[in-house]
Amino acid sequence: MTQSATPAVLIEDLRFAYARKSPPVLDIAQFRVDPGERVFLRGASGSGKSTLLGVIAGILDVSHGRIEALGTDMAHADAATRDQTRAERLGVIFQMFNLLPYLPVGENVMLPCRFSAGRARATKVNGGPAADARRLLSRLELDPAEYWNAASRSLSVGQQQRVAAARALIGQPSLILADEPTSALDTDRRDRFIALLLEECASSGAALLFVSHDGGLAPHFDRALDLSEINRAGTGETA
């Protein structure tokens, strides 16, 4: 890992509360994810994992502290810049129900290329958005011949999560944020999913920030830490 390169995530002295008067959900002195680094962050339910990802993605407004995602100042940049950074350079996977129900699998995977010209351009090396989407789907063990036109709802949860991973990865984003994407999967499928995800991140050089309450996943990653180690506001129940 090149320490000198722009970090994928850099947080200093961050504080975040949902409302002005409510106590902060996040109070983080220091946190950093290097480019290409794959980090596991464990945290109890309600400890602020999703909130942290929302802050990093620039969806939630931060009033205090410094937070950079891929060099963009997500605390001070205007909303348009933040939304743009997210569209161009971030991939997000949620816990469940990642797919737009009204688009078939292939369309769902290609969606980031419709939001961002940069992402579409980045798929050129692999033959354009459609070709790249097919490539990613087969890498994630979903035969595009069978699933490309399938309705998103007709897929199993594990399959949906892999489609979501393909969508997060298309167009070579530099940072993948994964919000408990395996919590609905059984152990075998969970491990298989994580292996595939890590592999794809490695091959595209994307950094990965993976949050979950399930500490058992930690060994798969370059680095693992507990949110309570960095978040001084953490009040989540102990899992």
Partner: protein
Amino acid sequence: MSRFPLPRLALRSVLNRRATALLTALTVAISVTLFLGVEKVRHGARASFENTISGTDLIVGARSSPINLLLYSIFHIGDPTNAISWQSYEAVSGAPSVAWTVPISLGDSHRGFRVVGTDNRFFEHYKYANRRDLEFENGGPLEDTFSAVIGARVADELGYEVGGELIVAHGGGEFSFVQHDQNPFTLTGILAPTGTPVDRSVFVRLDGLDAIHDGAGPGEDHAGDAHTEDDHAHAEPDQITAFLVGLDHPAAALRLQRQVNTYPDEALQAIIPGMALVQLWSVIGAAETTLTLIAAFVVLTGLVSILTAILTSLNERRREMAILRALGARPHHIFALLVSEAALLALAGAVLGTALTYGLLAVLAPVLEARYAILIAQLWPGLYDLAIVAAVTGAAALLGAFPAWRAYRNSLADGMTIRV
């Protein structure tokens, strides 16, 4: 650069909720159909109404109200209050600047159709729509005392043909007490359809009317008396109901009107048909405005149903919005998505409604024309309909701003945590 595939998403999202979308669009379609239908019929009714008489400068009758005179003399609605004397008719006819006059005598009926006593000048001078002449579909004008000409509707409904006979009863109603069974009239002509009360009229000569009132008929004292019928024709009636006046110069109308209205020997009244029509329409107009207003509110109901449909779907779509946000959608994209969904539903509904309206009109126009003399001028969607479609779509977009605003707020507050 961050883009947003708005049309694609809006369309797919609406199609995804097909059943609701279809019902919502259908509600709008039905409301638009009602609105356009009311408008069409209203315009048709108004046009037909205004087209009833043309080219006549004055109508003269006994003094009552202008609307009353217009109603009974031209529209054959209600009964004349009073008759006017033949002397007065001749006096006015002789006035300078009078080009022609047509006497009209009302009060009798034939199987529910009004009988108009007049002479052949009626077919020459009565004009409708934009100075269109009456035309004979079959046969020709009145001949002897006991000849009759009927309008298109009468011929249609009663199945009469030229050469046939008909019997005139005294009184205006469908069932009259006095039947002049002894007085068959021979049909000499059938007029082409006009969309005016002429279609529902039976025309006979003034002396023909007199003859039946006198109890005389061709089968009795006029039998084999064909040569003397001309004499009878010139025998003038004592009274008529009203008469139409054509002038050399329309500019003379006001002066003549004043002279008639102040005619010393009899209480006469002259009206200018155009002005009386406007006056009459202003009475009907109130009802007409109410109808339009009701139709407009029905359209509003249709639009509100779009609002309801979108608002109800909003909660279950919070996750969808969060996904879009995670993909880089800006909050205003979320706003635009919902607004365009509302607009899309309204557009589909309005277009469907327009199609439905004209489809129905194509089927119903002949019935409207035949039964109600309402002529639908335009049987293809025009600029007006386009404007309605645009207005409905625009209004839906405006209403859609409400759920869109809520989704916009949600998308800002939800962040990445959606609890659904």
